[in-house]
Subunit: 289 residues, 2 copies
């Protein structure tokens, strides 16, 4: 069921992003937006759509925040890959935007993908109630900006320059911003659209995001670059502290397992209806890409 | 009156942006956000605040979109100044962010300033009615993204690489995105917040934006780099078509004058209440920076 629903979410969000960008003027920046927002696991879109399912939010509404979060995620990857940031030439097995086009195109296409995210959550098709649209946009801004994702990235850059390696608490805080904030926003969307309390989803996503990141660190050490579709062992090469360097490989695996279980438990209020989300929490620590 | 109100708008928006960013974590990216969002003419904030005055929108509400548009404007300048874009080392008479810090900081701080813009227009303090907040965010996204400002920048980059110089119509379309879209959004804010028809303000800002850009092209040829606080004669050096190269210096001045007058006329429905905005339309074609 999980794999079917992940594929379904990926296909639907792809179609939706294509439709939204269909009337954009054909310039290289827009081509790059389409290119970089294609593919990927679409885990964040899946979280939005599954959260919406739990609260009976119509799919044709929930697809808007699902597309929004994937646009935001794609922008963050595109800027992360820039030569002045991680300097990556490969993403999802394909040349990164600044390699295929140039840096200026990658900067601008990323900028416009961020903007597109806010367009998607505030358009009337997203939700009939403007209160919900305004809340989705406000919470998305808090999750994506200098209080959330960008703060995590800024701390990551600061850590690379610092003399002392990060502690476990510091890495946890860094990742809560870098990965956790968007996961949390995605998982809470459905509840927010239904006017329900998103607390169970928030707890789920906090644990899931951290488990995901620990799994990423494990994958960086143990993974296969071809399957992952990107360069691996970057952190070890850079001498960066990671969950693996701090906890050891076995310790990191045990911690990821604990977090995955905690994520599953936090969905208790939804009973078996949340089983696909629980499967996702098991999947993120077992994936090979 | 114009100079007093411009200064007042600049001071108030500065205080407001400082307050909004006050509880942000102190990392270099946040320092760079503060640095790059300080100073400038604050013309867009002024347009928001004057439009709000015309419609009796309380200043404590209107300051939010005023801060938002200056955050968006500051982000676009920061990314424009990057080595892969215009490669400028001076902005408002000070070193640009990538010179003072580094490129990664400039990319991230710009990203977070864009996000901050959306946070400012969707927070409940901006407007009691969520319909208005959602509309401000949606229209801001359309103005700033691949339908507006970024499209203009993308066309600008494409033009630099093209074999043939742009025609007058093409430059006009390019500038309508690059400069016009944010001017139009700013001027219409007050009417939108009051639930009034923003058509007069839109017509005003379309003409104002184009007049502003023609004046910029004239300044690029005739201006004093010290007063302007940035490098001049960039376009001529780059062999780019500009309003001056297409219309001649006198032709460009005449066109700017016509547009400034058309901008003033479009505010007829507001009578003398809009005189400060009219003064602004005269000011933008007479400024030396």
């Amino acid at each position: 069921m999980l794999q079917i629903r992940l594929k379904q979410a990926a296909a639907e969000v792809q179609t939706h992003l294509d439709t939204v960008m269909n009337d954009f003027t054909d310039v290289p920046v827009v081509e790059a937006m389409r290119y970089a927002s294609a593919g990927g696991k679409r885990l964040r879109a899946f979280l939005v759509l599954e959260g919406a399912r739990l609260h009976d939010v119509p799919r044709e509404n929930a697809i808007w925040p699902a597309a929004a979060i994937e646009a935001i995620h794609a922008y963050s990857l595109m800027h992360d890959d820039l030569p002045c940031m991680d300097d990556d030439e490969l993403r999802r097995g394909l040349p990164t935007v600044h390699v295929k086009w140039d840096e200026a195109t990658a900067v601008l296409a990323g900028d416009a993908l961020q903007t597109l995210g806010f367009e998607c959550v505030t358009c009337p098709e997203c939700h009939a109630d403007p209160q919900v649209r305004a809340e989705l946009a406000l919470t998305l801004a808090r999750a994506a900006g200098a209080r959330g994702m960008v703060l995590g990235q800024a701390r990551d850059i600061a850590a690379e320059k610092a003399q002392n390696a990060l502690t476990l608490d510091q890495i946890t805080a860094l990742q809560a911003g870098k990965t956790g904030a968007l996961f949390e926003w995605s998982a809470q969307c459905g509840a927010r659209m239904a006017g329900a309390d998103p607390a169970p989803e928030r707890a789920f996503a906090t644990a899931l995001g951290l488990a995901f990141q620990i799994a990423d660190d494990i994958l960086d050490v143990e993974g296969d670059a071809e399957k992952a579709g990107k360069r691996l062992q970057k952190d070890a090469d850079a001498g960066k502290a990671t969950f693996v360097s701090l906890l050891g490989l076995d310790g990191a695996k045990a911690r990821a397992q604990e977090l995955s279980e905690a994520a599953c438990d936090s969905l208790a209020p939804y009973g078996s209806q949340a089983d696909t989300l629980r499967d996702a929490a098991r999947f993120v620590i077992a994936r090979d890409n």
